[in-house]
Amino acid sequence: MILLLLIASAALLRDLKQQEEGLRATSQRLERDTRLAGLVKDVHTETAVEVLSYRIDKKARRIEATLSADREAENALKRYAVDVTDPLQHALMDAVVESRDRIRRSRLALIQAIDAGKEGEIQAAFDRWRIHRRLLDASLNDWSALSLYRFASASEEAIRGRAAIVRLLLYGVALAIAIAAAAFFYVRLTVSRPLGMLVNGIASFGGGKLGVRIDPRIQDSSDEVGQMAKAFNKMALDIEDLNRGLELRVHERTAQLEAANKELESFAYSVSHDLRAPLRTIDGFSKILEEDYSEKVDEEGRDSLRRVRAAAQKMGHLIDDILKLSRLSRSDMTYEQVDLGALADSIVAELRSTESTRRVTYRVAPGLVARGDKTLIRILLENLLANSWKFTSKHSTAQIEVGAAQKEGELAYFVRDDGAGFDMAHVGALFAPFQRLHGMSEFPGTGIGLATVRRVVQRHGGRCWAEGEVEKGATFYFTLGAQEPTLRLQQTQHPPHEREALPA
């Protein structure tokens, strides 16, 4: 179709070129013809003037002039005749030549009559000459008219040719539009639509619908989209298999974890109930010994009994602390906005009420808020502030500060004091349970406070660390994690065996 159009337009263009050339040729001829006709006419007008003057003054040079003018006209006509191919024009040209011959003859006759001086003959010759001149005019006019006609028809042809080209161009444009539209719909049908389905499939797969597959009709086509669809479907199948395996493993692990948790709970229960009972026996019966048999035991014996009781009670406290720590790990968490400043204020107020004689300056940064479990965060702050309170107790005045600072790109909260501090060499043992950097007689405690702090921070997905110097104080930093931990895997809700194909 396009080829045909191209051939047609090429032919038309060739025709148009020929027509243009023809038009140019006819236009040149018309110009030449017009000029020649004018020249011939002028020559005869000139000779007529010379002949009429000769009649009056009889000068021989007038005859000479007519002859040379005649020759000029003849030469022009001869030159012109060389490239005249049109037979009709040739005929008209012959008529012009003939008319000129006639004029020449009648002029010669007129000149002879003038030379003879016979008035009657002069008049007759003059009339004949005039008629012949009219005839020449007529044939010249015919000749010009033909030239004009030829030019007009060439022009018409050229115009018609142009119109044809314009028509052809219009057809071409219409055809091009039609082809473009067809191509558009073809591409839509064979590329865009499958591609769209592929994109939709990938999007919903990404959205968690792991059962999504691309219509097999697309996958079966051999083009790139088909190959992509095939590759996607294979990948989706693999991922779904992997995911199913993963879910299975998660379920297994969850079950194991739940079992372990249950075990831990029953262990905690046993610890709480069964381990404390013998301690009570040890303490109780030592007490009975003290009360009922004190006179039978000497001072050293009584001291031994006191030590037995103290140890039993200490073990009781330790057990209580272990249980507290274990309970901390098992409790549910509720995330909310927590006003750390307000919490710290109330904790410090409680500490002050227990030891009202202490001179402690306490400062808290304004607008200190965090997201987390309020109960756990309170426990955390209680431990840190009680720690600061305890380790500043040997100083006559003390400062405790609660604030926040940017540390390695995240917001870290801190509790700072100017108390006993610690040697940075032992910082590693600081947060481990039952690890203490000070003797019991110096600062009492079971060593569970900072372990508790670390447990709370870990449950929030954060971290904690400390900086300190002996007798210069300590700063305890903690972060609470970027956001609530979520279980992403549990969000794939559809059963894995459910297949979902996109509509064709």
């Binding site: 109780g284 009975i288 009670q313 009781g316 309970r327």
Partner: protein
């Protein structure tokens, strides 16, 4: 002073002896009936025409039938649901506390390791349940028992 019986449900003989001593030391001279497991406790409490105790000191971890189960059966009985029950145990687990109170325990006391504190706790609960508190009328109990 109220002369009602104290029912002590306790399987640990050491704890039994310590509890009895604490009672004696605090001059609580009420008769004490000691049973050593949940079954025995129920047998005593549900014996026909028995006089109901003024207070039951109930341990939770008991052989055969647990303390919470004993409490549950007691509270399900029309005549015996008014008997004051004080849970006296080592456990401070939330589940035990919640279970005890929701089943209608009147008090929940955790036995401290320190005998001094333990003795003080026993003194206070004896003072409260045997001296200050007005026990439910025995006649009323009988009537309810007869009806049941």
């Amino acid at each position: 002073m109220n002369e009602g019986t104290i029912l002590l449900v306790e399987d640990n003989p050491d704890d039994e002896k310590l509890t009895l001593r604490a009672l004696k030391k605090n001059n609580i001279a009420n008769p004490v009936k000691v049973v050593r497991d949940g079954q025995e406790a129920l047998d005593y409490l549900f014996a026909p025409n028995s006089k109901l105790p003024s207070v039951v000191l109930l341990d939770l971890k008991l052989p055969k039938i647990g303390g919470l189960e004993v409490l549950k059966r007691l509270r399900a009985d029309a005549a015996r649901k008014v008997v004051p029950v004080v849970i006296l145990t080592s456990s401070k687990e939330e589940s035990d506390l919640l279970g005890g109170y929701s089943l209608g325990a009147n008090s929940y006391i955790r036995k401290p390791v320190d005998f001094g504190q333990f003795s003080e706790a026993v003194r206070q609960l004896g003072m409260y349940w045997l001296v200050l508190n007005e026990a439910p009328p025995q006649d009323g109990l009988r009537a309810a028992q007869a009806k049941a």
